[in-house]
């Protein structure tokens, strides 16, 4: 009887056990609800690359130059350093940078400042650091505290393509004529070693060769095109600092450099050259900043138009009515510029004015004697011989913003020397209004075209070198900047643009990138490396995160 009871009991215990075995785990339940536990990212692989010895060669971007200076915090956020942190996860070694001595930026030589500290955000735009925190002592001194290498980051701000191969470029003895202060900090005991030699001495297994060619057009651009386009001149030793490098010179340097770097089987990534005129250094200042509601400009408009009315008749008479200068009372007006590409009509203008019977009266209206008519005619001819109002096609360099509308004291002194009163001289010396903006403030379309032509030629070389060398992958920096300047580039939760201050990608100097911009650049390298060499930095999530990189550096950072 008892036995029977137990048996029945066991039977239903077995039945219940069946139930237990069928139980769910939380994952099963979630799967039922199509809730996927986030798939683990794949593990990082190094592909076909040996990352153990990574050397970065380049110019200011490679160095981490930002806000018009190089300083420790910015170097920590240089794109090569950011890359090296990812490379470290797949066998990359220590990445040594030639760190500056402080976070002020700027350079000194034997206690004398030779470069200014960085720019900071001053509430509405870039200002000098010292305007916020007062005078500082720049402590990075070429004479006393050059760092100890060897350096994996061989980025030299200001270096042009041919400087890579130039011996003595890092020799203090050649400074300032033929040496670069940032190169001097790299050479240590081999002052005459070229940058490429410094690189090769380290037997890199992986390299980045970045923004080569950038400075070959940049100084020309920032100087407002005051340099010379050296196309056709194959001897760089004859170039001035603001000249455009000949594309053949570039091609030779670039291909030699890549050949040398890959000669030991190293792999590397190279960038092409962006259209630098898309940078905010050239796009921030509008061609038409003259606001009629501005109390120091608006009331002057009738007088100005009266004066230019005389001149405009001359332009019309001379068959160049397009040079007419008119300021609107209702809308923003374009500044007046000196366009050296125009035929110089100084003499013709002076001649027409002198021949005009009404001109002496006009001259008298300024309180000058009628006899001054000849003088005034010559002066007007001189000043406006190549003048015109700017158009949307003209670009203005960033520093012009602090010049437009100010009185040019040199001009005042000159006019006074010619017999004009100080008041009148001042009236005719207002930058961009009564005094055409000088060449150095403006990139006229012809100058822009020269830059573009050179850039396209460089990029063609870079593309063909990269295409013909399986150890090299091209990072298309050019299209990144184009996109930044047009639609913006999404980076994590941000959409970065090329706007000054607000765009997040370009630093306060309008040329170099912010830390976040460099982080984006690093990710573009990773993308390219993944595509070419079978790594998976992007897919495995081993990338720079936008939010970890600031767009600005605090003025208080020391």
């Amino acid at each position: 009887m008892k036995k029977n009871i137990m048996n029945t009991k066991y039977i239903w215990l077995i039945a219940l056990l069946v139930g237990f075995n069928a139980c769910n785990d939380p994952e099963d339940v979630l799967a039922d609800f199509n809730i996927e536990t986030p798939e683990a990212l794949p593990e990082l692989t190094s592909g076909s690359v040996n990352f153990s010895n990574y050397v970065a060669i380049g110019a200011s971007f490679t160095a981490g130059f930002t806000d018009g200076a190089l300083f420790k915090a910015a170097q920590e956020n240089s794109f090569p350093n950011t890359l090296s942190k990812q490379f470290a996860k797949v066998g990359g070694g220590t990445f040594t940078q030639p760190l500056m001595n402080d976070n002020f930026g700027g350079l000194a030589l034997g206690g004398n400042r030779i470069q200014s500290p960085r720019l900071v955000f001053g509430g509405s735009g870039p200002v000098a650091l010292e305007s916020i925190i007062g005078t500082v002592t720049v402590t990075t001194d070429l004479a006393t505290n050059n760092p100890t290498g060897p350096f994996k980051n061989l980025g030299v701000p200001g270096a042009k393509s041919f400087h890579l191969l130039a011996n003595g470029y890092g020799n203090l003895a050649n400074f300032p004529a033929a040496a670069n202060p940032y190169a001097i900090r790299l050479t240590e005991s081999a002052p005459n070693a070229s940058l490429l030699e410094l690189a090769m001495a380290q037997n890199p297994t992986f390299f980045t060769l970045s923004e080569i060619g950038g400075n070959d057009v940049l100084s020309y651009a920032t100087s407002g095109g005051t340099g010379v386009n050296q196309a056709g001149n194959l001897d760089p030793s004859t170039y001035g600092g603001n000249d455009i490098t000949d594309p053949n010179v570039f091609a030779q340097v670039f291909s030699n450099t890549v050949t040398a770097l890959t000669s030991t089987g190293a792999k590397g990534a190279v960038t092409n050259v962006p259209y630098i005129t898309d940078l905010p250094h050239f796009t921030t200042v509008p061609y038409n900043p003259l606001d009629p509601t501005n109390s120091s400009f608006g009331p002057q408009i009738p007088t100005l138009n009266g004066i230019f009315g005389q001149l405009n008749q001359v332009f019309a008479f001379l068959g160049v009515p397009e040079r007419s200068i008119v300021f609107s009372q209702t809308a923003a007006s374009a500044v007046v510029i000196q366009d050296e590409s125009l035929t110089n009509l100084s003499a013709q203008i002076a001649g027409v004015l002198q021949a005009s019977p009404t001109f002496p009266l006009f001259v008298q209206s300024f309180g000058l004697p009628a006899e001054a008519a000849t003088l005034v005619a010559n002066l007007l001819g001189t000043v406006y011989g190549q003048a015109r109002q700017a158009t949307a096609d003209d670009l203005f360099v960033l520093p012009s913003s602090s010049v437009i509308g100010t009185v040019n004291t040199d001009s005042v002194a000159f006019l006074m020397s010619q017999g004009l009163s100080q008041a009148l001289a001042g009236q005719f010396s207002v930058e961009g209004i009564s005094l055409p903006l000088a060449d150095k403030w403006v990139l006229i379309p012809e100058e822009q075209e020269e830059i573009k032509t050179a850039t396209d030629a460089y990029n063609q070389t870079i593309a063909s070198v990269a295409a013909s060398n399986t150890n090299v992958v091209l990072v298309d920096l050019n299209s990144v900047l184009t996109q930044l300047a047009s639609t913006g580039v999404p980076f994590d939760d941000y959409v970065m643009t090329a706007d000054l201050v607000t765009g997040g990608a370009v630093s306060l100097d309008g040329i170099h990138l912010t830390a976040r911009g460099y982080a984006l650049m690093a990710n573009k390298f990773l993308e390219a490396i993944d595509d070419e060499f079978g790594t998976n930095f992007m897919a495995s999530g081993n990338v720079a995160k936008a939010g970890d990189y600031p767009t600005n550096y605090s003025p208080l950072l020391q």
């Binding site: 009871i5 029945t8 039945a15 139980c23 765009g503 936008a546 605090s554």
Partner: protein, 932 residues
Amino acid sequence: MKTILPYLLLLFCGTIYSQTTISGSVVDDTGQPLPGANIIILGTSTGTVTDFDGNFSLTYSQNPPFNVQASIVGFETKSEEVTSNNQVLNFVLKEGTSLDEVVISASRTPERIFESPVTVERLGLKEIKNTASVDFYDGLENLKGVDVNTNSLTFKSVNTRGFATFANNRFMQLVDGMDNSTPALNFPIGNLVGMTETDVLSVELLPGASSALYGANAFNGILFMRSKNPFDYPGISASLKKGITSQKAAGDNDYIDLSFRAAQKFSNKLAGKINFGYLQGTDWAANSRVDKNSDGGTRETNINYNGVNVYGDLVSANLKDVAKILASRGLLPNPALVDLVPSVDVSRTGYDEADLTDYNAESIKADWGLYFRPWEDDFEISYVGKVGTGSTIYQGSNRYYINGFFQAQHKLELKNDNFFLRGYVVSDKAGDSYDMVFTAANILNSWKDHNTWFGEYTGAYITATLAGATDAQAHSAARAQAETGRYEPGTPEYTAAFNRVIKDPSFLTGSKFQDASKYYHTDANYNFGHLIDWAEIQVGGSYRKYNLNSFGTIYTDFDGTIDYSEYGLYTQIQKNVELNDALELKLTGSIRYDKSEFFDGFYSPRISAGLTVNQNHNIRASVQTGFRNPTTQDLFIGLDTGSYILAGSAPSNLERYSRPYDISANGQLLGQPSSITQTAAAAYNNSYTRAAYLNFKATGDASILADPESIGNPSLVKPEQVTSAEVGYRGKFEHVIVDFSAYYNSYKDFISQNVVYAPFYGTVGDNSLSVQAMANADFKDYGIYTNSEADVNSYGASLGLSTKIFGGFDLSGSYTYAKLDFDRSKYPDFVTNFNTPEHKFKASFGNTELFKNFGFNVAYRFSDDYYWEATFGNGIVPEYHVLDAQISLTVPSLKSIFKAGATNLTGEEYYTAYGTGFIGSMYYVSWTINNL
């Protein structure tokens, strides 16, 4: 009266002149006395119950011979003939099985569970006495196939066969035939305003649909609670339970539960009773800081943190959108600064639930009844009044502190064994109840309005970024700036704001509920069983009228109450066919017709067959339908939740909800006026779907809105339906009782709530003006009520086994399987709220007489992992094992039972729904006097 009076006098005289006294005892087959057994003179209402020692004495107004019957739940009924005055009757009752217990709910007529045509669960006096749970309502947890979802200490939500949320308006709860659901909420608040334990006679539970007999809303199941009639159960009884609740979050807190019952049989014609219950404790505190928005997020690590039990942090905005607004209003020094702002959602810093409630769990209930049997037979007229008030926590879309909630019910009923006619009214008052989530959000809004907060945050983010901060540093600086001026809990300004908000009935600035809704219900049933021989036929019907009155705060009843009604009629035929000596077939067919003012009439049929073999095996099969009318909220709500407007779907409601809206500058350029008035009708006849809107917003691609699929225009809500097929088996083997059932449910027109977007101008699908309205943000979003096209099915089974081992030990166990069958990939947005574990196992082991007067019971429950989906939040409910136990001592000399018990003995805290407080342990001792 004139004719009745002599008759009454005659009866009265009869009692004087002829009188028989009998006495005796009732014992079980082991000789143990059976207290509380019913002794009744057959064919009359004269009777008594045995006392604590199983003894009784009874005086009857007539001379012998007559028959006396002794019955008690769990034992086979016996009757004996009385032949002489002062005769002593000693009944020895053979213990029956659970299948012999009589239920009345399954067929609206008394029948043994064994023969019931559908699955039915029962909790009788014996089970209530022995339950290891803290009270009878909690004891339902141990029934096979029953899910009890714990909202809070005093608000348990009962459900069967899946599809449970705390707003369980698919499950009915009747107390003595009276619907216990709250007019404002459309579902019962557990036992908060239900029954006191000392008055409970039995609880029956029908899993699954039973609309055929009980009408709309008897959809997932129905719970019947029956009280003790004062004619049958006179006397005074009381119970006092004291103990503690123990929970990590709330600590150890005192708990008291008192119930009192006094019933008096004034004569054979008149009896009355009163009940009073008082329960006070501290609720399970809900202090989960788990982030709803990211795995493992915290306030410190996730800028858009939204803690499960942290409120106010639901208020969230996209920083880039905020920056754009600031720029468009000229509030940024340079509009291009928008580019420095990431497109991320940021939430306000909320307040913990503990700062928004005192966790007082309280229930005060009283009821009273007068019962009149004019002819001293089964005809009875009764009036029952019932009030309840209390405080608890309810978790719906948000967590609500139901504080000082009051519900009153009054019922008048006429009945005899063959019919009843009853009418009752249920009314509620929301008291000081408030929404804790809105409380937090509006306290936040009161010290710094949301726009300002997000504006400051964004401004500070930009400032910090320009000053050199990384993203994380900028967010931290931004939050610090935006949080300046925060009211910290405990400060006078916080308390003042809190008190102001919870008294303010506008959800834009406050959180108070206002409601004083009612419904009137009448029910009638006639059983022709005594008139017709060939079958038992019943007919019945019901009528209900709703009277919604929220003063415009919940419903669109700003201009007076909203009234509407529904009715139903049903009939049932039941026939027993004796096929041969060993085979008996019971066929039941029922059909019910229901009609609501707003919807086409519905027929819901049920057919069932039960085959009894050798009196020990019963096989049953049934097919039935159920339907559920949209609730009062589905129909008449008009509530701006702050994020969107809930717009009920009743045709007359659509135009009742109306509001003016400003048109954007861009809209005005298109020739639109500066402001328009839109009614909720726009949600139903000129709206885009949520998916289309989100897609359009993300991509800006206008062609998305040209796709006809993008048009929302949901159809007006109509009743949802279920068809349920069930088979079952009950069997008595020598020592084991088996009860098995399996079902398959198929649902149609599931009522669901969606969000749609109604443009202020243009016609959806015009691919022109309406698209521009959407692009200009000239639209309003609405939460609407409609029916899903999704096919939803569910199936399951349960197996219960019980036996006696080692002599007097009861051992039972049950296993329940429940599975949802639904193509989630086809309807990814449709939320089924199935909320039921696939596997459940329950067991209990006990002995009512381990030794003399001493008993014990241990109950164990296992629930598998399952996924909880509800408007408040979705998440895994991990598997749990719960062990409850009690020991009891009966002291006949004191007519008392002393009990000591503990629930959740292992102390392992668990929860049955995502978002509630964790359920801790309870330890209690109780003293029950004279509760037979």
